[in-house]
């Protein structure tokens, strides 16, 4: 495996070399700045407007770049790297189509608050605005889906811009920052003057909470009889998992983890109720609907969690909303106790005062619901069930693998049946729901975690949206285990068409897709197939025992639905449980 060792702590020798005030090109300045920010690996694709930047990489042994087969693959890889490591992910693309191919990836990161620095080339400055070859206004195009963006106007400002971009991407509510560098600026030479300070007048995120607000929450907990916590992606983003566990164990409040919050609180903990919302567990949804105190920690009351907002948590006498982003507070749900701050800081302070919520009858009721309404599916000895495959992966990896998913039914089954034990072990596009994300994001996750098992779980639809990156796995021997939950159909769309559109199945048939085993083999990746449980166990073990990348085509039954399911317009206690058939 040719994954470079993490260069977290820059060697002094390298640092001295990088900091030398030589007169160098803008491209060399860019690479030096990236290395000084601690960047271990950049994902990218060259082209005309970034030729100087790629020229500077030539023969540069300190700088690691992974060539993908599509710019979308590059940015999803950078995203997977960022989600799984907590560091800022970096990708590079050329102007025009290179840049526009990044847009889906930028929006994916923006919706889930993932820190990325996205570098695009642009045409030479004098040609900007003339509809030159491969010119687009990428800062304009991406304005609604970036946290901030820069169009670099002089080579001298490059070090400041790059340092600011990393600061903005990785602090506060994290997100993607785009730096557009015209070709003449990447060519122009200037003395390298690194920037170490950052001072941005309009950017000063509140990280320490108002303690009086936290005290109010502590009092509300003392008075609550049926409290519930919803823990979201903010817990993971803030690296506040340990603080959350301490808080929960002190207060004895049951926890629901959102899709992005999975792993932020260990699945399987006695106070864990599973995921709430659209495909949430019975217990999580009913607990929220019966809660007299609802505490949202780093979750933004997304519509897939709340479903019908009128009638969400109707019995809550008090709602606490903890978020780093003041704009999230009151956006969807008006809280009684808003707390703006970094989740880690908020919980660290709360933990100094937290005491147990009084009522143990509530916990007994939660336990009863967990026993009476566990997640379940009808297993089969003749057909391979997708839920069985996920359970099998969970059991064999003991919930310790990094799992990336694509979008659709398999994503929900992963969220339900894989028991994530650690933060940053699920890599999934929650907000944007980006098909094509699952596989390339696993490449990035593996680059950031060379010693861990990375399993990419995809549907047969999504894998075809970025399958070209199989080449990257093969050439670089990146040992991702690529699972295809192959039901020959766009399953989630099929499910909606079955349940909501009177079985009017429109354009969901994926039969005639390539033989995925042969596709993998065409790229030089080992391919395996399973059509029943026995084969599934055997080939999965073979995949785990294979040192390099493997694609496993699990031929699962076509008509399986994800349950529980709350349909649009219904409150989360109105669940279809799948027994209705």
């Amino acid at each position: 495996m040719s994954i470079p060792s993490p260069a977290n702590v820059l060697k002094e020798e390298l640092k001295t070399k990088l900091l030398k005030p030589d007169v160098v090109s803008g491209s060399e300045i860019l690479l030096r700045c990236l290395l000084l920010e601690g960047v271990e690996c950049v994902f990218g694709y060259p082209g005309g407007a970034v030729l100087y930047i790629y020229d500077a990489m030539h023969g540069n042994a300190d700088f690691h770049h992974l060539l993908t087969r599509h710019e979308q693959g590059a940015i999803h890889a950078a995203d997977g790297y960022a989600r799984s490591t907590g560091k800022v992910g970096v990708c590079i693309a050329t102007s025009g189509p290179g840049a526009t191919n990044l847009v889906t990836g930028i929006a994916t990161a923006y919706m889930d608050s993932i820190p990325l620095v996205v570098i695009t080339g642009n045409v030479v400055s004098p040609l900007i605005g003339t509809d030159a070859f491969q010119e687009v206004d990428i800062t304009g195009i991406t304005m609604p889906v970036t946290k901030h963006s820069y169009l670099v106007r002089s080579v001298e400002e490059l070090p400041r811009v790059i340092h600011e971009a990393f600061h903005i991407a990785g602090t506060g509510r994290k997100g993607p920052v785009l730096i557009d560098i015209p070709k003449d600026i990447s060519a122009k030479r200037a003395e390298f003057r690194p920037v170490h300070e950052v001072s941005i007048r309009g950017y000063n995120p509140t990280t320490d909470p108002n303690k009086l607000q936290v005290d109010k929450m502590i009092r509300a907990i003392r008075e609550a009889e049926q409290p519930v916590i919803i823990a979201g992606g903010g817990v993971v983003s803030a690296d506040a998992s340990a603080e959350l566990i301490e808080f929960v164990e002190k207060t004895r409040i049951p926890v629901a983890t959102t899709l992005l919050g999975l792993g932020g609180f260990p699945s399987g903990h006695e106070l864990w109720m599973g995921m709430p919302g659209n495909h949430g567990t019975y217990t999580a949804n009913m607990a929220i609907q019966n809660a007299d105190l609802l505490i949202s920690i780093g979750a933004r009351f997304d519509d897939r969690v709340t479903m019908e907002l009128k009638g969400f948590a109707p019995k809550a006498k008090k709602i606490v909303h903890i978020d780093i982003d003041p704009a999230e507070i009151g956006k969807n749900v008006k809280p009684d106790i808003p707390v703006v701050g970094h989740v880690k800081n908020v919980l660290a302070y709360a933990n100094t005062k937290a005491t147990a919520a009084p009522d143990s009858a509530w916990l007994e009721r939660i336990e009863q619901m967990k026993r009476d309404y566990p997640l379940r599916y009808k297993d089969s000895e003749t057909e391979l069930k997708p839920q069985f495959v996920i359970e099998m992966i969970n059991e064999t990896t003991k919930g310790e693998a990094i799992i990336t998913t694509d979008v659709g039914q398999h994503q929900m089954w992963v969220a339900q049946y894989y028991k994530f034990r650690r933060p940053r072990s699920i890599v999934t596009s929650g907000g944007l729901g980006t098909m094509g994300f699952g596989f390339p994001s696993a490449i990035g996750a593996q680059m950031g975690n060379p010693d861990k098992l990375v399993v990419s779980i995809n549907g047969d639809g999504g894998i075809q949206m970025c399958s070209q990156e199989l080449a990257v796995c093969a050439i670089n021997d990146i040992p991702v285990k690529i699972v295809v939950i192959n039901n020959q159909v766009l399953g989630m769309v099929r499910q909606w068409q079955e349940i909501i559109y009177d079985q009017r199945y429109s354009h969901i048939d994926l039969s005639g897709s390539p033989d995925f085993v042969k596709l993998a083999e065409a790229y030089g990746v080992k391919g395996l197939r399973a059509t029943n449980k026995e084969e599934a166990r055997r080939v999965w073990q073979e995949a785990l025992d294979t040192p390099g990348p493997v694609l496993i085509d699990f031929r699962v039954c076509k008509h399986e639905n994800v349950y529980p399911m709350v349909t649009q317009g219904n409150t989360i206690d109105k669940m279809l449980m799948g027994d209705e058939e």
């Binding site: 304005m143 704009a327 008006k334």
Partner: protein, 162 residues
């Protein structure tokens, strides 16, 4: 909740694209813009935008918070919650045959407006005042035939407190 009119002052970095960032935010989140003016502020490098919008309290709170998320936004003040001065300039080209001029000049005088250009058959009237006052003079001049109307949009500031 009732929508009400608000005048917001937004101090921004004078950076390329800053108007697009602010206007784009209003557009994509469905906030209304009645008028927007941009110009220099008291500090070099910073511009001041005055935006007239409308919304209920929750919308106004979101507008302020979302504006603050823009890195180039330094300060947001809802001027409507304070005693303030609002002014707008309008240039009104009104048909004015010599026979109609005395009447028109009467209107101009009443509104403390002024005539800034006289042509053979038209006058340009310059009016300064609150948006309501501009509305009023425009309505009074309309019967004579308004050929062209150009309004700057509102600019405003909070009154100095004693």
């Amino acid at each position: 909740m009732i929508d009400s009119r608000h005048t917001i002052s937004v101090l921004v970095n004078n950076q390329p694209g800053v108007l697009q960032r602010v206007a784009g935010l209003f557009g994509r989140r469905g906030y209304n813009i009645d008028s927007i003016t941009v110009g220099a502020s008291e500090e070099a490098g910073l511009s001041r935008m005055i935006i007239v919008t409308s919304g209920d309290d929750a919308t106004m709170e979101q507008i302020e918070k979302q504006l603050y998320k823009l890195i180039d936004v330094i300060k947001v003040i809802d001027l409507s919650s304070n005693p303030n001065v609002e002014r707008e300039v309008a240039l009104i080209k009104v048909t004015a045959e010599p026979s109609a001029r005395p009447e028109i000049l009467g209107v101009v005088e009443t509104f403390r407006a002024s005539v800034v250009d006289i042509g053979p058959s038209a006058l340009i009237v310059q009016a300064v005042g609150s948006a309501d006052k501009i509305d009023a003079i425009v309505e009074l001049l309309r019967p004579y035939g308004i050929r062209e109307l150009s309004r700057t949009g509102v600019t405003a500031m909070i009154r100095s407190l004693k």
